[in-house]
Amino acid sequence: MAADMTANVSIETPGKPQRRKRRRRDIGPLDYGKRLWMRMFVGAIFVLLYAPILTLMIFSFNDSKRNVVWKGFTFKYYIKAWNNDGLFEAFMNSITIAFFSTIISTILGAMIALLLWRFRFPGKAAYEGAMALPIVVPEICMGVAMLVFFARIGWPSGMPWPFNLSAITIAHIAFSFPFVAVVVRARMAGFNRELEEASKDLGASEWQTFWNVVLPYMRPGVVAGALLAFTLSLDDFVITFFTSGPDTVTFPVKVYSMVRFSVTPEVNAASTVLVVITVIATFLAMRFQSPSRADG
């Protein structure tokens, strides 16, 4: 739900002229961002927003089991988390699922984006609405739908790795590719259709036009969409919770079962790793989406 909005939020320069009535230290009537109380409010909210996660990350290095008072720096909980077989296996499962889900949902999403960008067809509004459904349907409803679906059709369980992850991967693709479609389509909105026509006029085939003209323009959107699909898959808990079985535990599901018992520094360490991975992926996605790279 994040990416479509980040894509829509355009950053414009307001160019606010200074007003005539100057009060306290050049603060114009519309310079709300310069008011001290406004700044303090926003600053306080940002602190509240980040403090829990930052403390979690900092205290993953804390040499104390009780996790409240700082007792010294250590990496031991990272080593413990690494050596925790269940946690490590869950992490590998998550990465594997995210990998396959990203590839397939990027391809499907990019195709749908091209379809919606290029063609006019009857029932298009309804089609777009249906495509947006996985984005808007409450996660828990989609989770139970997947549970019911795989149970009713008798999806084989107990297959060898990595095929035992197929049900979760399928579910992840189902909610990821509409997001990819939104991101890629936002990118394609800026494409000059005449370029495509020119290419075809000059005798290029459909495929050549796509490969040499459309795809180079589309690429930043595709990369951003892929990174989004990756983080969505890596982060998903609710839908995975309903599709996973005892031998197909993903990282968030494993952390959930651990958290239910107690808050341990080991979980903090593992969470920190996941947070760092997602933050890096997000930064990369933003870089590919940002207007400065738009003509790339």
Partner: protein
């Protein structure tokens, strides 16, 4: 835009894989749930579809009505707090110098890329009895007590004989705080997009004509940002109403929401038809909210969620 008939081959190649995936792995599963919601249990795992409405009737029993009602007011309160907090933030960001804007926006967006589970779990460490909030309060209490002792008031026990930690976890407060914490960015973004588009000369005109800042806000800015407010409310309210993880981890046994009841029907209680009916009630509310937004905002495209 090209008519699909001009290039049917390309049209089908592009549309079939995605559409098929959506139909087989999304629409059919949802339809299955819908059909199940009219079924009856005939054994431990056997369900017969009898097209009974009993599951929906059962959802209106006292116990479940209370849970539904509670989910609604918890979500309403959380949405309200989100709005109150997010509005000034969106406002400050859109009036900030342009070089600061992307950074501030990123700061708002970043937390919701971080795993929902981890963010919820981080709150446990903050709120629990031996968590950071109580730790800070205890520290303040000790200092205050020392000062009171210093001025000779210790024997009156003005602030209690000893520090009583607040119980902030496993109640409605924790659930509401969790929802606000987790879904706040959903509120900031549509508000920001709306305030950003606002023609600032309206504000100047209002101020020039002698209206106070608060009058300008309530008579000019607030009505003009109504679309953003409505979008934000719906974007927060829908996931809040369906939230399962937050009440599960932060709420106790009496702070359950509809999502927890649904989960129980599919896991421990093993009553799939009833769980399906509850899921679809949640879906209907979601669709209702979306339809309301479409009606109010008069938007045309479904992809611009």
């Amino acid at each position: 835009m090209e008519n699909w008939k001009n290039n049917k081959a390309v049209f089908w190649v592009l549309s079939v894989p995605g559409t098929a995936w959506l139909v087989v792995f999304f629409l059919i599963p949802l339809s299955l749930v819908w059909i199940l919601s009219f079924g009856e249990k005939s054994g431990i795992i056997d369900i017969v579809i009898t097209w009974t409405s009993e599951n929906y009737v059962r959802a209106s029993e006292q116990v479940y009505l209370e849970v539904i009602w509670k989910s609604v007011w918890v979500s309403v309160l959380a949405t309200f707090f989100c709005l109150v907090i997010a509005y000034p933030i969106a406002f400050v960001i859109s009036f900030a110098p342009s070089k600061w804007k992307p950074l501030l926006l990123l700061a708002v967006i970043l937390p919701f890329w971080i795993n929902l589970l981890i963010r919820t779990y981080a709150l446990i460490a903050v709120f629990r009895t031996r968590g950071y909030v109580n730790f800070t309060l205890e520290w303040i209490w000790e200092k205050l007590n020392a000062i009171l002792g210093f001025v000779g008031l210790a024997e009156y026990e003005l602030i209690g004989a000893r520090f009583e930690p607040l119980s902030m976890l496993y109640n409605n407060f924790a659930v509401i705080a969790g929802i606000v914490y987790v879904f706040m960015p959903f509120m900031v973004l549509p508000l920001y997009a709306n305030i950003e588009k606002l023609d600032k000369s309206y504000l100047e005109a209002s101020l020039d004509l002698g209206a106070s800042q608060s009058r300008t806000f309530w008579s000019v800015v607030f009505p003009l940002t109504m679309p953003g407010i409505i979008s934000g409310i719906i974007l927060v309210f829908i996931p809040a109403l369906g939230s399962f993880l937050i009440p599960d981890l932060l709420g106790g046994t009496n702070a359950q929401m509809i999502g927890n009841v649904i989960e129980r029907q599919f896991k421990s209680a093993n009553d799939w038809p009833f769980g399906s009916a509850l899921s679809f009630l949640l879906m209907y509310v979601t669709f209702g909210a979306l339809a309301l937004r479409a009606l109010l905002a008069g938007r045309k495209s479904g992809m611009e969620v």
